[in-house]
Structures are given as structure tokens and as C-alpha cells.
């Protein structure tokens, strides 16, 4: 695969707007008045708070212990005092809340004791545990825990570093690669060793020549055989699956991960954080954030996790006509509903937007099926078909046309001549499908519970009746034995008293019942006995089945079938 690049279908070339913020070196953001550190830092797990209000904390001190497999630790980004532990709104399109530790910095930046981690001397598991304890998560935006991604330790052929950064306006990875190339590559070497990959490739869009040059120099100096590969600038080449496709030719289908195909992909920022964690023993406390758009002073800032965006934005001096702040890029980002929310480990960019910068889209017009969207779709979907299906609430058909393969990159909406917000339609369809599936599974569970309850009641009733009958028969048999009547010889002798026959049958039932309550003995029963038991079981079955079977068709999960299975297992 050396040297050869692959193409992915579609893609678009929006105006890059990288120069605005890429010119200036990374600056360190001043300490904010307070830091709001969310305990939920990785995608799926919230850390357990281990500090109290009023407690003094040091920079880098663990304040949240990781919980669960997907959990990562959370640390105090600077030294100071914990002033509050409470739910706080996050940087989220729906302004979701999560539990946060609010720290008032003392301005001294006193570090907790920390030392490099000798990962050569440690086992692989210990190294992963160290990364977990350092709170390392993917910094490309998804914040997936890195120790999980490094998981298997076998079967990975190629390690890919993602320096694509294909979204317009964002330049934090660009600046990081220009200024800290050696650290990134050192982190990459650690990642490669931990994951056991044979080769290592860094993919960088060719609109970042300075970053490519810096990384190539560092790669030459490091001598670790890292390949720095410029890739064509074509949004969304920096998407993980698109980048893997471009560099290796491998296509990762929906629902699968790179690891399933021998490729693993990390953001360059993550590699940098890994390097700091291993070589310096520093947990992940800050990240580079691009502040750009409708501002006087666009640039990249090294920002402590938990810094309120409101305060951070002032550094870039937004112009007066700024009407929104967009987190992420213009293609996939979202307008922040509130600005008193903290920077987290996945926050890469905040764009100050104005009506002139991002004008409202022209009114939506009818779809003319021009297929521009299909030509642009990197997932090779037919977005206009999905749009028609979504509009008509034909969600089954939308799924059939692979709606869930949509990565919501926005290429289709970007090129649509009818100005249809296609991605909105797809998000709507997806959430409708999820909601329906939830409803359906809830209804299924309720139905199953109800049916099982009916079945159980019927069974209990039948069992009770059988028990009573057996008891009555026993008493009658005793009475008969005690009296003048001879003991019944066989169950069905012709010409005998019908009463006696009845008693005999009841007796047989009682015996069978006795045999049945000791299932461990059934192995040693004679064939006659087994036949008898089967006979009785069949009768009981008939009695038990009638009620629930009346309104349920026989199938694998209906009560009738359950009874049959039940009876079989008892035999």
C-alpha cells in the first residue's frame, strides 16, 4: 500500500477559512474565575466524585474516579478550591446537564506530584490503566476512551493518526502539528507499541503544508518509520472511516470499528495527550481550541478543561454583530444554546457567527431529484430517496435504503439546489425509528409479561386442582382399604363398578404425582411408568393450555409453546 491513496465517493470542497486562525501560534488562555469540570468526560461513563465542597485540590489531582469499563478519570485542571458539586449545563445542542465539580483557582498552578510512567517496564494492562487514570479520551470530538480503543493488543496491522481536520475554520490540529510534531509522534510511537501495530501512517489534508512539513521533519528525526501522507483536501476526508479508506482502501461498514479490520485510528491531539501522560505523567488537563469566525483576533488557545466558553470567547473579541456561537465546524457543528458552558475534552473549535458569515438558508424548495446529493454523499447513499421516505414517514423503507449508514456530514445539504435541510430530515427519521423501537420493545415486554401472568395463573390453578384431586383420591383409597372392598387390581377392568374404576384412576394419578415430585428419580423409571407420566402430562397440558392459547397463535414464544417446553423439561 506504500504510496497509493484511495478515493472515497463524493465529498465537497467548501471554502476552508483556515488562514484566519492558523497564522498565530498557540497561546495559553488565562485562568478563568472558575472552572466547571464535568464528571462525564468520556462518551458513555460518568466518573465518581471523590472530592468535597471546600476541599483544596492541586493541579492534576484526581477528582473523579473512573467507573465501569468505559470510564476515565477526571482531574482538577489547576490548583484551587472546590466550591460546588452540582449539575451544570453542557455544551450540547439540547443543553443537557451533567454533574460538575466547580473549582475556584488559587492562581498558583501548584502541581500534584507526578512522574513519567515507564511503560516498557509495565505490563500492557498496567499501561492502559495508566492512560485511563490520566483521563485520556479521543480529542477529535467523539471523546471515546483511548484505553478501550487500544483494547485488544493484537490484530491491528496499521495505526493511523488523524491529522485530516477537514472541517472549514478549525485549525487546532494544524497548529498542534506545526508546533508539537515531535511530541505527537512520540505519543504515536507509544500508541503503536501498545496496540502492536506494524506500520504507522499520519494522514494530513494537503491544505496544511506547514503541518505536513513539520511532521515530516519530526518523523525523519525520530527515525521510527512513520509515514506522513498528504491526502487531497476533500471534506469529509478527516472522518475516521473516510481517512481509513483513503489511506488503506479498507471500507469500514456501519456498525463496525476499524479494529475489526486491522486498522485503528487516533486523533493527533490524542497522541499528544498520550505522550504527556506517559512521558511526563501529566493527566489530560487542557486542549487546543480554535476561536474564529466573526472575531477581531482569531487564533488557537491552550485552554483548561472546564473553562467557561463565555469567558474564553472574550479572548478572540467577537464583533458586535455576532449572533451565535457554533461549537465545532460549520458542516457538523451546532449553535450553542447557552454560553455559560464549559470546554470539554472534545471541544475543538468555537466559531462566532453572524448573519453575514453564515446567512440563513434560502427557503426550502421541492426536491427535483437532481441527484446532486447522491453525487456528494461519502456514504454512497441516495439522500433524496431517504428524504422522500422520511417526509412520508416511511421509515421502514428509509432503513431499507440504509439510513443508518448516514454519517450526517452535511455534504448533501451543502450541494442541494432546493436548499432542503436534508440532514435534519435524516436526524428526524433516525430519532423516530429509535423512538418507535423503544415503544415497540416496551409494548412487547408488557405483552409478554401479561401473557406469562395469565399462563402462570392457569398453571397454578391446574396444579392446585390436581393436588386436591390427588389428596381426595388418597383419602378415598385409604377409606376403601380400611373397609370391605378389595384393593383395585387394574385401572380398567371391564364390567367393574365405575366408581372403583374412578378410584383406581385417581390412585394411579396420585402415584404418578408422587413420582413426579422427585424428578431426580425419573431416570430410573420403567417404560410403563414413563408412558403413564407422559399420559398425565398430556392431560395437564390440555387443562393448562386452554385459556392463554385462546387469543395467541402458537409460536416459539407463546404460552402454549412454553407449556410444552416446560413439560418436556420436566420429563
Amino acid at each position: 500500500m506504500i504510496g497509493r491513496l484511495f478515493k472515497f465517493h463524493g465529498g465537497i470542497k467548501p471554502a476552508a477559512h483556515k488562514d484566519e486562525s492558523a497564522k498565530a501560534p498557540i497561546r495559553r488562555a488565562p485562568l478563568p474565575a472558575r472552572l466547571i469540570v464535568p464528571l462525564r468526560q468520556s462518551t458513555r461513563a460518568t466518573a465518581t466524585c471523590i472530592v468535597e465542597i471546600g476541599q483544596k485540590v492541586l493541579k492534576g489531582q484526581c477528582i473523579g474516579e473512573p467507573e465501569g469499563f468505559l470510564g476515565t478519570a477526571v482531574h482538577a485542571p489547576t490548583s484551587g478550591t472546590v466550591v460546588d458539586i452540582a449539575p451544570h449545563t453542557m455544551a450540547h445542542a439540547s443543553a443537557l446537564q451533567t454533574r460538575c465539580v466547580v473549582i475556584e483557582p488559587d492562581g498558583e498552578e501548584r502541581w500534584i506530584e507526578h512522574a513519567p510512567f515507564d511503560y516498557h517496564g509495565a505490563s500492557r494492562d498496567e499501561s492502559l490503566a495508566w492512560l485511563r487514570a490520566c483521563g485520556i479520551v479521543g480529542m477529535g470530538g467523539a471523546t471515546f476512551p483511548s484505553h478501550v480503543k487500544l483494547g485488544k493488543g493484537a490484530g491491528i496491522e496499521t495505526l493511523i493518526l488523524n491529522g485530516g481536520e477537514c472541517e472549514p475554520w478549525i485549525t487546532c490540529d494544524d497548529r498542534l502539528m506545526r508546533e508539537r510534531a515531535a511530541d505527537i509522534l512520540a505519543g504515536a510511537v507509544i500508541l503503536r507499541e501498545l496496540i502492536g501495530a506494524r506500520e504507522m501512517v499520519v494522514g494530513i489534508e494537503d491544505n496544511k503544508p506547514e503541518a505536513i512539513a513539520a511532521m515530516q521533519d519530526a518523523a525523519a528525526a525520530s527515525g521510527h518509520g512513520v509515514r506522513i501522507v498528504p491526502i487531497p483536501s476533500l471534506y469529509p476526508a478527516g472522518g475516521e472511516k473516510q481517512l481509513i479508506r483513503v489511506l488503506t482502501g479498507i471500507e469500514i461498514p456501519y456498525g463496525k470499528l476499524g479494529g475489526d479490520y486491522g486498522v485503528q485510528c487516533f486523533n493527533v491531539g490524542t497522541a499528544h495527550a498520550v505522550y504527556r501522560a506517559i512521558a511526563h505523567g501529566e493527566p489530560l488537563l487542557s486542549r487546543i481550541v480554535t476561536l474564529t469566525g466573526n472575531v477581531e483576533d482569531a487564533g488557537n488557545w491552550e485552554v483548561l478543561i472546564g473553562t467557561p466558553i463565555e469567558e474564553l470567547l472574550q479572548l478572540a473579541r467577537p464583533k458586535p454583530d455576532t449572533d451565535r456561537s457554533i461549537m465545532g465546524g460549520p458542516m457538523m457543528g451546532f449553535a450553542l444554546p447557552r454560553l455559560d458552558v464549559p470546554i470539554v475534552k472534545g471541544s475543538n473549535c468555537i466559531i462566532s457567527a453572524s448573519p453575514t458569515l453564515f446567512p440563513p438558508p434560502p427557503p426550502e424548495q421541492p426536491c427535483i431529484r437532481c441527484t446532486e446529493c447522491a453525487k456528494a454523499c461519502p456514504a454512497e447513499l441516495q439522500p433524496f430517496e431517504l428524504y422522500w421516505f422520511g417526509r412520508s414517514k416511511n421509515f421502514g423503507k428509509a432503513q431499507e435504503y440504509n439510513l443508518f449508514d448516514c454519517i450526517e456530514c452535511g455534504c448533501c445539504a451543502y450541494v442541494c439546489p432546493s436548499h432542503i435541510p436534508l440532514v435534519d430530515y435524516f436526524r428526524f427519521s433516525k430519532s423516530e425509528i429509535w423512538a418507535r423501537e423503544r415503544d415497540k420493545s416496551a409494548a412487547d415486554q408488557a405483552r409478554e409479561r401479561f401473557e406469562f401472568r395469565n399462563f402462570r395463573q392457569e398453571r397454578e390453578k391446574a396444579e392446585k386442582a390436581a393436588k386436591l384431586a390427588a389428596k381426595a383420591a388418597e383419602t378415598r383409597a385409604k377409606l376403601a382399604e380400611g373397609g370391605e372392598a378389595p384393593a383395585p387390581k387394574t385401572a380398567a377392568e371391564p364390567g367393574e363398578d365405575p366408581k372403583k374404576a374412578l378410584i383406581a384412576a385417581a390412585l394411579a394419578r396420585a402415584q404418578a404425582q408422587k413420582a413426579e415430585v422427585k424428578p431426580q428419580n425419573t431416570d430410573n423409571l420403567s417404560a410403563d411408568k414413563l408412558a403413564e407420566i407422559a399420559d398425565i402430562e398430556a392431560r395437564r397440558l390440555a387443562a393448562a393450555v386452554t385459556a392463554p392459547a385462546a387469543d395467541a397463535t402458537p409460536g416459539a414464544d407463546t404460552p402454549a409453546a412454553t407449556v410444552a417446553v416446560d413439560a418436556e423439561s420436566r420429563n
Binding site: P14, E157, A335, Q365, I368, V423
Partner: protein
């Protein structure tokens, strides 16, 4: 609230339709110059009718009129109807055809983007079935001055043989069927030029130039014109080689009738045509095949309109059966792709 993406390409339906109109101009100019300026009257008449009908129906449907009129789609339909009809057709024929296209075909199905059939082609079919005589009276190239043409359009009496000529396809049909002549001898007649109808070849070149513009601006893809013209050439060529006396040459098929208009402007209608790359190929090839069959054996001189409508009916099936492979799904099918073998 507005969601991402916050940036959009500078495109619109209006721009698309405007480019189609622009691409029609070379052919219209050549039409007016080589055949007769009457076409300009027809075009104007059709445009006015289309805009009025569109506005009226939109108002009745309580839809915003301004945006829909501004998208120019009604004008495109009007021009295609006018170019499909004889340029000297009486005014009421053009008006009726445009009304069929706009009201019955476009808006009754729900307006722009909703019609399963090509509006201009339904209009053409309706007219040729209803008024076969009027629909077969085409102006002989350059034979009529503007006043005569205008008079014909406005409804003056028609002294047909003197003023109108049969089209090349018509002449060939009549020659072959009625007179029992061979293709070669029929083609010596006054209606024929170098390749197709005399002087009409110029109009065809105009459509070709417009098609090149549409391809260059990526309004249309290569699939449909290539499959349509390719199939027509292959099928007609095959039979022409076998029996040159009975079947017209591929060049004649390309240059006659509405072949080039259809290849770049009619079958490429996105709304009623197939949408997948493979679907487009089958769709266009199917039209070409039916066109050749109708031209060679059918009751009508040119079969493009019927062929288009027949294939319009197949579009849902074609689209369904030719869905392209989705990213990553090749792996599941086990087809050729680097599968990233794992290390042992």
C-alpha cells in the same frame, strides 16, 4: 432553529433551470435562422401560457406564487413543449399543449418534483393523438416568411402542401411504406439534407452544443445521452448493415426528428427519469430501443414521446433494482476490496 451545515454551495433550482434555458438558446437561434422565425412566436406564446397557468394553479393550491414562478421550471417546460410541436402549429394547439403539461401533468400530481411523467412529452402525445394532422405539418425549411408563419399560428387558412413540408422521418416512412421505394432513393427527395432533414441538421447541432454546456456545467451526467445515443446507433446500425434498403442509417436516426433534443433535454428531466447511475443507463437505452422500434415499425413517424412515457413508468422499478452499493457494504458481499487481513 437552523442546524448544520451552516454553509451552502451557491446553487439553486433557478440556476439549474436558467442554465437549461441558456443551453437551449443555440438551437433556438439556429431554428429561427434556418427554419423560420415562427418558433419565436410559439416560444413566447408557450412561455406566457405556462407562467399564467402556473400562477393560477399555485394560487388555487394556496402556495406561494413568487418563488415557484421564479424557479423557471415552468419556462423550461414551456420551451420544451414549443420545440416539440411544429413551429407553425395554431396558437390554441400550443396553448392547449402547455396547459396539459403544466396543469394536468405537473400540478395535479403535486407540482414541481412530483410528476411521474415528463410534462412536455405527455403534452406532445396528447396533441398527436387529438390532432394528428396539425401535428404533422412542419414548416419547410426557410420556405415561409415571418408574416405567413404568424398568420398560420394565428389561424389563417392552411394551404398545406404549398407551405409545409413533411419531416424527414415522415417522408422516409411514406416513401418506404406507401411507395415501396428503398431508403437510398427516398433520401434523394427535397426534404433531406446531408444527414437528416434538410436544414434541421443545424438545429440538431444547436442541441448538441447546448448538451455540451449542460454536461460541462454538470447539470446532467453523461449516462443518459451516452446510453440513449449509443443504443440508437448500435440498434439502427445493426439493422442498417443487414438491410440498408429497408432501414435508415444510424447517422440518419441521430440527425432526424427529436433525437438530439431528447438526448440532452427531454430524457434528462430529473423529476421523471431514473436517478441511479445504472438506472439512468437502462432508462435511456430503453427509450432508444423503443424509439427505433416505433420509427421503424410503428404507426407514428417519431416515437420519442411514447418511448419516454413508457420508460417513465419503469422508473420506480429501475431505481429500486439499481440502488448503488453503500459505503462499506462491499465487504459483506465479499466482493473485491482490501479486507485488511489480520495478523496471525
Amino acid at each position: 432553529m437552523i442546524h448544520s451545515p451552516y454553509v451552502r454551495k451557491q446553487v439553486s433550482v433557478q440556476r439549474t433551470m436558467g442554465l437549461v434555458l441558456l443551453a437551449l438558446l443555440p438551437a433556438i437561434a439556429l431554428y429561427a435562422w434556418k427554419i423560420g422565425t415562427g418558433i419565436l412566436v410559439s416560444l413566447a406564446l408557450a412561455t406566457l401560457t405556462a407562467l399564467a397557468a402556473e400562477a393560477l394553479v399555485l394560487a388555487l393550491r394556496k402556495r406561494p406564487v413568487g418563488i415557484a414562478l421564479g424557479d423557471l421550471s415552468a419556462v423550461v417546460t414551456a420551451w420544451l413543449v414549443a420545440l416539440s410541436l411544429p413551429a407553425i402549429a395554431p396558437w390554441w394547439l400550443t396553448v392547449a399543449a402547455v396547459l396539459v403539461a403544466i396543469v394536468a401533468v405537473k400540478h395535479i400530481y403535486g407540482g414541481l418534483g412530483q410528476n411521474p411523467f415528463n410534462p412536455a412529452m405527455v403534452a406532445y402525445c396528447t396533441m398527436i393523438v387529438a390532432f394528428p394532422a396539425l401535428m404533422s405539418q412542419w414548416p419547410a425549411a426557410g420556405a415561409l416568411d415571418f408574416d405567413t408563419q404568424l398568420g398560420l399560428i394565428l389561424g389563417s387558412a392552411r394551404e398545406l402542401d404549398a407551405i409545409t413540408g413533411a419531416t424527414a422521418l415522415d417522408a422516409l416512412r411514406t416513401g418506404l411504406r406507401a411507395d415501396g421505394a428503398s431508403v437510398q432513393s427516398v433520401l434523394q427527395g427535397p426534404a433531406f439534407g446531408m444527414a437528416g432533414g434538410r436544414e434541421w441538421e443545424w438545429v440538431g447541432l444547436g442541441y448538441l452544443a447546448g448538451g455540451a454546456l449542460l454536461l460541462a456545467t454538470r447539470i446532467i451526467t453523461w449516462h443518459m445521452p451516452a446510453a440513449f445515443l449509443g443504443t440508437l446507433v448500435v440498434v439502427s446500425g445493426l439493422f442498417w448493415l443487414i438491410a440498408p434498403g429497408q432501414f435508415a442509417s444510424p447517422l440518419f436516426h441521430l440527425a432526424s426528428g427529436g433525437t438530439l433534443l431528447a438526448a440532452f433535454f427531454i430524457i434528462t428531466d430529473p423529476v421523471s427519469g431514473a436517478t441511479t447511475p445504472r438506472g439512468k443507463l437502462v432508462f435511456a437505452a430503453g427509450i432508444a430501443l423503443i424509439v427505433w422500434l416505433i420509427r421503424s415499425f410503428g404507426a407514428y413517424p417519431d416515437g420519442i414521446a411514447f418511448a419516454v412515457l413508457l420508460m417513465n413508468m419503469c422508473v420506480p422499478l429501475l431505481d429500486m433494482k439499481t440502488q448503488p452499493r453503500v459505503f462499506g457494504h462491499r465487504n459483506e458481499a465479499g466482493e473485491s476490496v482490501r479486507t485488511g487481513e489480520r495478523r496471525p
